[in-house]
Amino acid sequence: MQRETQSLSRLRKAAPNSLPRPDGELEALERAWAPPKGWRRLSAVNNTQVGLWYIGAALLFMLLAGLLALMMRTQLALPQNDLIGPTLYNQLFTMHGTVMMFLFAVPVVEAMAVYILPAMLGARDLPFPRLSAYALWAYLIGGLMFFGTLFFDAAPSGGWFMYPPLTSYEYSRGIGADFWLLGIGFIEISAIAGAIELIVGTLRTRAPGMSLGKMPIYAWTMLVVGAMIVFGFPPVIAATLLLEIERAFQWPFFIAARGGDPLLWQHLFWLFGHPEVYIIFLPAAGMISTMVPALARTGLVGYRWVVAALIGVGILSLGLWAHHMFATGIPQLSLNFFSAASMAVAIPTGMQIFAWIATLWRGNVQRSTPTWFLLAFFASFVFGGLTGVMLAVVPYDWQVHDTYFVVAHLHYVLIGGMVFPLFAALYYWAPLVYGRKLSERIGTWACALMFSGFTVAFLPMHLTGLLGMPRRVHTYQAGLGWDALNLVSTLGAFTLASGIALVFVDLALSSRRTRPERPNVWHAGSLEWLPQGAYGVRSIPRVEGQYPLWDNPALAPEVQSGQHYLPGTATGARETIVTSPIDASPQYLLLVAGPSWLPLLAGAGTAAFFLFLTVKLMLPAALGGVIALVACWLWLWQTDRGPVHAPVDIGGGITLPVYASGSVGHSWWAMVVLLLVSGTILSALVFAFYYYWTIAPGPWPPAPDTLPAWPWPAAAALLCAGSARLLRRARQALDRHAHRGLRAHLGIAALTSLSAWMIAIHGQWQAGSLATAHAFDASVYALLSYQGLFVAVVLIMAAYLLARSLAGVLDGIRRVSFEVCRLFWLYTLWQGVFVLAVIYGSAALAGAT
């Protein structure tokens, strides 16, 4: 704190750099950031390029999934229609839901952040541009193949929440369900990559002076969303792992006859599924909080209330999961807790809505296409939110759960709460891409068509549901009062589709008439409207308020002429400033990675590995895996460049080092985020382990003699502790520049880590425990296998560090690789001890009582 305050006081002066700027400074900057040309463009990693591709890919999936919706609406237009049979229809709604939720909604909000967030924070790029590129390629290639299964009659048909046992090997024999699990795998990868970028990006790459209290609401939102991904995605990662293992190896996690429980899947899925809804909605809310002040030409009313509301939604959303399970027969007592939490989450959402209305009220609103989309948002989202409150009323939910009322509700909150704001955002931020606004006329028409089509399609669906129509039915009997309502909904769906098509026409027409500059067409106050090149802003602005462009009207010319921080490139490479997380005082210069084919290769390799594995082509799968692994290795090899340059003067009397190790470094932060994710996945698996305990009717563990005698786990735990100690020795050797000692300790530590795991698993095995026998054994093996995965990564890391040491690129100063790997390694060891304690400790405890 003390250091931060001092450096801040230095900021309160005139523009930090003086004019004129030296010759060639701008040219050098342009050279460093020059985007690759021609077919090499695919190797681009810069956020403005990758962000656009990412948005485009997500919109493509929206169109594809939308077409599926139109097919379904056509089938449902008439009662007892036989246009589409149940087999295809079940695939259609499964794919529609899955693609919309996982391949459109989550990616598109991350994509928007990849594109906008760095500019809004005054950063030149994201901290890990290649990670974003990798996430994009894995997602795009994997997603397209996933969608392609529809053409081979191999698409999943278990519904987008895939409840077992319907989706287990007995009732879904094809590979459709495996493809679903695979498709989700890609989005898990890209979501976690996104969370790392969002958290490290917002906390560490803000413009100097942009303290937490001046951070744009959108950045706050994406920080909260990043945290929600960290705690929200792991349950579904755990669940998909368990289901795939059950399908492939018959470990009975969800099979009641062998001690499993299908409800465990529902708990894990909705532990993710409800936060997921807010992971989709909050970014939209963040965009609204950005657009509303700009359109109303006044600051957001109640900034602090809105920040509190974001935190409120983020945390409260973790306590709602069972409101999707009111009809499963869980005790009334528990249901009421979830009912109360579901109502509590309405409050922060209401706070945001009233903050926006107050802002519009205070301001002089520009009437334009984004404004109309925001109006559509208000009308539909408020109603959708209120039907959500109705669903939180337990007895009412018993009636309308799994009916078209729910279908109507979820489309009201998702289209109303996310698609309308997204389209407002497309129109609002389009000038950043096109240099001009999109067509007002087409935009207004599109909005009118979309909103009226949406209303005609989905408002009657509430009634259809109340008249008793369940969801996910491929057809329905005539004469139940549903016929006319369904026909109307179908007409509405096509109207909505025509509105969306109109937007794409507008985008296509405008792309032929782009202009190079980015005019601040809305007279907005946030940094993304500064003049920018491929390098982002010419100089990184000093921020003094929540709306820097309003606070200092001369900021744009100052920034463009190079009067603010880092007006060129100090090292000749791509750079951005890393600042302290609270007060945003500059700390060091981050050397940003440039164009590379490796992320594309690694992404394609990852996609190929999983896809070929699914269709059981082992050789190509292995090839894909090797490609991915080698590409990642090479890519990481290039990142830890060491202090390649003397400390740099960025202006205003601030001199920054170009290399930082330890807990200041951005890689260290990324690893911490990754470990938080890993720890949460572990908790989900531990939750599963104890869950079987609570539902077990008989003794627990079910067959105590299938647990190994205590020396086995004790030996394994001791080896873990020993390995941690060796790792400490290795670090001491590194401090002393003792290379041989470092290598020896690393090697032995790796072997001890491995043998600890092997002893644990062997102990379990020789006690006669079979993973296919009972859910208890399966969950023990699941925990041990999860640990095994980490040990495998540790072995690769050890090899990597040894290779770096032998190549002479690891020493007492150039040591970020070592520190990051060490963090993961230590975590793995303690995770091992914890897993052993959970399994054998609680078994002993249960045996004692």
């Binding site: 007892q80 229609n81 005539a478």
Partner: protein, 119 residues
């Protein structure tokens, strides 16, 4: 009882001239027939345009039925013959799989009117 009634109708129809029963002679409502075809679930076995859920493949498709020359391959396709067939198929063809499902005459007439309007 039903057989007697059917016999009477057949007699009446046969008594008419060939041309007379080409056109619709018996009072009937094609729209009511459409509803009746749905209500009696004829679509379980037949494909019938305009009737919800009528995409059966047990019996012949009744698409463009008005253009047919014969009913069940043996009776001339007139409204009266069709009525007779609908009411009691086994009486005409003992080997048929189409059962007499108890359609009353008024409904049968309406059904026939609708089917003959399909062209």
């Amino acid at each position: 009882m039903r057989a007697a009634m059917t016999g009477a109708i057949v007699a009446a129809v046969v008594g008419c001239g060939q041309d007379a029963h080409r056109g619709a002679v018996l009072a009937a409502d094609a729209r009511a027939g459409q509803a009746a075809l749905y209500a009696y679930d004829c679509g379980v076995c037949h494909r019938i345009p305009g009737v919800a859920g009528a995409h059966g493949a047990v019996g012949p498709s009744l698409e463009a039925f008005g253009k047919r020359i014969y009913v069940a391959g043996r009776l001339p396709n007139t409204q009266a013959m069709l009525v007779r067939w609908i009411i009691d198929p086994p009486a005409i063809d003992p080997l048929t799989s189409m059962p007499a499902i108890g359609v009353d005459e008024a409904h049968a007439r309406d059904m026939a009117a609708y089917l003959l309007s399909l062209r």
